[in-house]
Amino acid sequence: MSATTTIVTRGDHRVRRSSRRPDPVFLLFLLPALILFTLAITVPGAIGIFFSFTDSIGIGDWHFNGVTNYIAAFSDPAVLSSFAFTFGFALATVLVVNVIAFLLAVGLTSRIRFAVGLRAIFVIPMVVSGLIIAYVFQYLFQNSLPAAGSALGIPFLQESILSNPDLAWIGIVIVTAWQAIPGTLLIYIAGILSIPGDVYEAADIDGASRRQQLLRITLPLVAGYVVINTILGFKNFLNAYDIIIALTNGGPGTATRSIAMTIIRGFQTGDYAYQMAIATLFFFVAIAVAALQLSVTRGKGNS
């Protein structure tokens, strides 16, 4: 709120002086970012969309072929399954990450011992490369978990979950969550610490149990932070690539192939225009998801 007012007043302030031309130094400050951004993102984006309407293979001659690529993409089971997998995975991971991070944040902000040390440990995964820790987990999933499954006599754990088409995604959710929880956790801790203490004191006096306080006070008051975490998380998880490469490489078969992997694998086997059509679809879906989430946020902000 206060930010908005500042802009408005500063705007007025400026209007009075802006009869003069802007100091050219300001252009010098703005242009490097603008030009590099256009060359690095906008131009490639436009080129990609353009070629999605052609039969280009990346080099040599090409012809326009209208929406052929798009029609092909919509009837390609591999593409449809990669979209379904990516969204299902992103949804499941957002859920797992937020529930665990919220509970950890509640625990870490309660009256515990070693709070600083514990928090420092829980944040470590944030600085570890997803690809590398996924290699470590791959070893554990393929060697240690089946060994434990055999020892305990649990049948579905006796084979590596990564080689089971129905279970491999769970491994990917676990490793992605492992890495994503710290960032989410820090946001929840900030949210919980921003709740004034007297709210809880009043609840104590009214005889509310800890569980009631958690559900009736903490959760509603950090709702805004839940929205932030959901938006940031969903955006990241839609891009899933590194961890999948290390854990399953998209397998078994194509069971865990994300959209990013589909696009890049297709390109590496000489499919350019078709993959650009898929990328363009992905772009619009990502924008739609972002717009949807932002409109939900707006609604929350107004109420």
């Binding site: 131009v43 944040v123 921003s194």
Partner: protein, 294 residues
């Protein structure tokens, strides 16, 4: 608002809010949380213990045993096989380049935008730069692979440029939010002293931006140091690859020499973890500030 959160999180090592509520330590929660740290520590322990095993011990399938005997030949082999010094130099180059370029370009652009908000060019530039926040890298990756190849940027420099551009939206958002909270009087006094816009930025604005630059820098560091996807696609010369990409090597060759693979993983992970352990309060405060402003 967000600064308050950050300060709270920094100062509130053990929360002051609950001190007022319950005066005794919640031991059951403490013990439960300590047990939960195993999910973080066990994978790291496995990495370390596997790395110090002999080749023959590393294939016995027991991930949790201690190395017996203690052996560093895995590190020696990994050092040579992945050409670690070269990979490390490339990772440092890409990370440092991305951090510096992101802070410079984003703070310059944000300063220009905030101080010229009433001018259409600057206002539209803001929304233009911000629009990319939700563009996933895979969407533009293929044309970028081709273009960087064509203009001779299929190397770490190209990765620095592209990584910076993907960090730009978020960083501009953070810097502009922060700049709007800086009172104009501060720089007007510098101007009365006869400083030009350029001098004002470096003398008055850039030092004030330091906490936000730290936040932007931490995010750029974490992204550039750990990313696999972009360098693996953009850098065409395997010898110029960054550390994460070099770990791929063990999936195709030497797949049974786990001690070498894990030694290599450990060497690639350790620098960021050690840097974090020395600056963890600062990193946590920075990330919190960034995430909440964003």
């Amino acid at each position: 608002m967000s600064t308050t959160h950050t300060e709270t999180i920094v100062t509130a090592g053990s929360t002051h809010r609950s001190r007022r509520r319950h005066h005794r330590t919640a031991w059951s929660t403490t013990i439960l949380l300590i047990a939960c740290t195993l999910t973080v520590l066990v994978p790291l322990y496995v990495t370390i213990s596997m790395a110090f095993k002999t080749s023959s011990q590393s294939v016995d399938g027991n991930a949790f045993s201690l190395p017996a005997p203690f052996d560093i030949s895995g590190f020696v082999e990994a050092w040579k096989l992945t050409r670690f010094p070269m990979g490390f130099a490339m990772s440092v180059l890409v990370t440092a380049g991305t951090v510096v370029l992101t802070i410079l370009l984003a703070s310059w652009a944000s300063y220009a935008i905030v101080r010229n908000w009433d001018r259409r060019l600057f206002r539209w530039s803001f929304f233009y730069l911000l629009g990319a926040m939700f563009i996933p890298f895979p969407v533009v990756a293929l044309p970028q692979i081709q273009l960087t190849g064509r203009v001779g940027l299929d190397n770490p420099l190209g990765v620095i440029l592209l990584a910076t551009m993907f960090q730009l939206s978020f960083s501009v958002l953070l810097f502009t939010a922060f700049l709007r909270s800086i009172p104009l009087e501060l720089e007007e006094s510098a101007r009365i002293d006869g400083a030009s816009t350029w001098q004002t930025f470096w003398r008055a604005i850039f030092p004030l931006l330091a906490p936000m630059s730290a936040t932007v820098g931490i995010f750029a560091f974490l992204y550039a140091w750990n990313d696999f996807m972009m360098p693996s696609l953009i850098i065409s010369d395997a010898d110029l690859q960054t550390l994460p990409v070099r770990q791929n090597f063990f999936q195709t060759q030497f797949s049974s020499n786990y001690n070498i693979a894990f030694a290599s993983y450990l060497m690639a992970m350790a620098p960021a973890i050690i840097a974090y352990l020395f600056s963890q309060r600062w990193v946590m405060a920075g990330v919190t500030q960034g995430a909440i402003k964003g």
